[in-house]
């Protein structure tokens, strides 16, 4: 061991030299400098399946905007880091993009755990971050814009529709961390509000891949609807195992299809009879969606699938452009928030019209109900236009008045 240390000890010096060089090279800001956007997404590791498209969505939007002359005459420049599905990397890179790279806004994060890992750093360093991901809801933080769909958008549409069609007995299986726990709470509340009954609820630790017992528990409870809020590739094994055991309960989900395009990756018919509410997937059959998809496939011909988060990331760049232009070219957070507070920051996205709600700084969405059939083909039995992220505002989060920088849940709403 000992003889190796001298070589190793040069590394810190080398790193210090590089850092010094980088800081010397940074010029003073000028008016025509590019607008820098930090992109922290998982291009490797556990979540890479669902998140590579997010980076591409931002690249596509930035290229289009630059080709059309940029934002208020300034080009967009992307600073992209691979966060490797690792929460520590999020914290490390978030400090780096805000302090060293001095980006104007950051687009970051897939899992709720990673978002909660970096959010305090954004708050502390007064950054401005876009979380372009579907999640369990509740973040009331003036430093954050959320373009992903939230439970009130996905469940208040999906669950009443499914209960009307299949029956009122509901069973939930969910990943055992903040996303699954809070989403399950949403399911519970919405089922109760609509006169249904919870006949079971099971939380599965992340990384569990064997589901025989769970499948049997579900059979025992005989639900009409099974809500699957499973996350990650290990838990995804559930569907194959349930199909092999011939479990035929209609499934509802807020996470499958729209993020990990499981209907393409899994062998049919393991996802047959699954219903998902999503604000975009590449099967959405509208002129704006088709035009978007054509541009995408031209730029990234090897993209396996254009998912919900890819579209969210793409439209987030356009929302940012809209805000900066309305603020007369300013990228200061205070100016942008004044624009948001006016309440009419909207863009025509591939999914349809998307606006930012000034109270929660979350986005309104067109919600598509996607049905997966035996052959894993997608159809859309129903579409809801302009579904608002209503819950936070109703519960008492009003970012135009105060900024609590907190995450709330239905059982722990903002204090008046």
């Amino acid at each position: 061991m000992m003889p190796r240390t001298p070589r190793g000890s040069r590394l810190p010096a080398l790193a210090a030299a590089l850092l010094a060089g980088a800081s010397l090279a940074a010029p003073a800001a000028r008016a025509a400098d590019p607008i820098k956007l930090g992109v922290l997404e998982d291009q490797s590791g556990d979540f890479a399946v669902a998140t590579i498209g997010k980076v591409h969505g931002i690249q596509l939007a930035a290229d289009e905007i630059n080709a059309a002359g940029g934002i208020a005459g300034r080009k967009l420049e992307l600073v992209i880091y691979d966060t490797q599905s690792d929460n520590t990397r999020y914290q490390e890179f978030m400090r780096r993009v805000l302090q060293r790279d001095k980006v104007n806004a950051v687009f970051a994060g897939f899992s709720s755990a990673s978002r909660e890992a970096y959010r305090p750093i954004v708050d502390q360093l007064d950054g401005f971050a876009f979380y372009n991901n579907q999640y369990e809801g509740g973040v009331c933080d003036g430093h954050m814009i959320v373009t992903g769909a939230v439970p009130e958008q996905q469940f208040s549409t999906l669950i009443p529709w499914m209960m009307e069609k299949f029956g009122k007995r509901v069973y939930t299986i969910a990943a055992d961390y903040n996303f699954g726990q809070i989403s399950a709470e949403w399911v519970r509340n919405i089922v109760k509000e609509n006169g249904g009954e919870m006949v079971g609820e099971e939380f599965i630790p992340l990384g569990v891949s064997q589901f025989s017992q769970t499948i049997q528990n579900i059979q025992k409870a005989k639900p009409d609807i099974l809500m699957t809020l499973l996350v990650g590739t290990a838990q995804a094994s559930y569907y194959e195992q349930a199909a092999a055991a011939n479990l035929k309960v209609p499934m509802g989900s807020s996470v499958n299809i729209g993020q990990g395009y499981e209907h393409k990756r899994f062998q049919p018919p393991s996802l047959a009879n699954m219903y998902v509410t999503t604000n975009y997937i590449e099967e959405v059959d509208s002129p704006s969606s088709k035009a978007f998809l054509a541009k995408w496939k031209a730029k990234f011909p090897n993209e396996p699938y254009v998912n919900q988060e890819a579209e969210n990331s793409y439209l987030a760049v356009y929302l940012y452009k809209q805000m900066v232009e309305r603020a007369n070219g300013s990228t200061k957070r205070a100016d942008l928030r004044k624009v948001i507070a006016a309440g009419d920051v909207c863009v025509d996205a591939p999914e349809g019209k998307v606006c930012i709600d000034p109270k929660s700084q979350h986005a309104s969405h067109t919600i598509y109900l996607a049905k997966v059939d035996e052959k894993h083909a997608i159809s859309f039995p129903k579409t809801w236009d302009g579904i608002q992220p209503y819950w936070l505002g109703k519960a008492g989060c009003d970012l135009t008045k105060k900024d609590p920088m907190a995450q709330y849940t239905p059982s722990n709403p903002p204090k008046p």
Binding site: E202, S212, S237
Partner: protein, 290 residues
Amino acid sequence: MDLLTHAFTFLYQIGDAFSFLVLSACGLAVVFGMMGVINLAHGELIMCGAYVTAATTRAGLPLPLGILAGALAAGAVGMVMERLVIRHLYGRPLDTIVATWGISLAATQGTLILLGSSMPGIGTPLGSFTVGGYSYSTYRVVLMVAAVAVLAGLYLAFNATRFGTLARATIQVPHMAEALGVDTRTVYALTFGLGAALAGLAGGLYAPTMTIVPTMGTTFIMEAFVTVVVGGADIFLGTAPAALVLGTVRALLTTWQGQLFGQIGLLVAVILVIRVLPRGISGLILRERA
């Protein structure tokens, strides 16, 4: 719902947990028990078996041959690993931990870079059967049979073949075996290859039931280590009874309180066993015998 259905349900769950533990752990047990090498890349050898099985099956090979191909491929990878890395680290268990962990990281990320973040599945064959209102996957029964067959096969390999005799001789007193003309390097290489092939077999057998991704090895390795630690160094006196005990613990707790308690139960069992029986179940049996 009568008693018979309850009994079947419970036995099926124990069998399911037992087969998963045995198949995950036996490759690790061979390598650790016989060679004292702690192989943290065991999960990646399982992943290798699953990938090869999925790829060959999708290319048109029947599933049983695909699983065999997965086992052979993982075995070959294991032999290469032994030749390049493990061979230089015999008798240094701590160093093998670091080296194999490095191999594990490199294998996971390498697979991700070369083959992408996931591979299309191959579907579970054989359909389902029904007992008293519950439906079960038939393939799970195949997995249980496979677990028992693997144990029987290993017993024969170590007790009824020349390789088995040489391997046991080499493991017991290496320098004496060498003095008697045994090529211990080859025996070590073959034993490591066997452990790797068993890992590949587990991956191949579970490939039709799981999502095939570069990180899939991690879902096996915790169970594998728990089983080997509880079992101790001997496969037949250790791994098999440990898998039975832990399978029962897991089935009981999961039925009672859900998956989380099943996992907690496994870890608590390990803590209790290493406190009471530092050499595992086989250590206890062998001490009493001696």
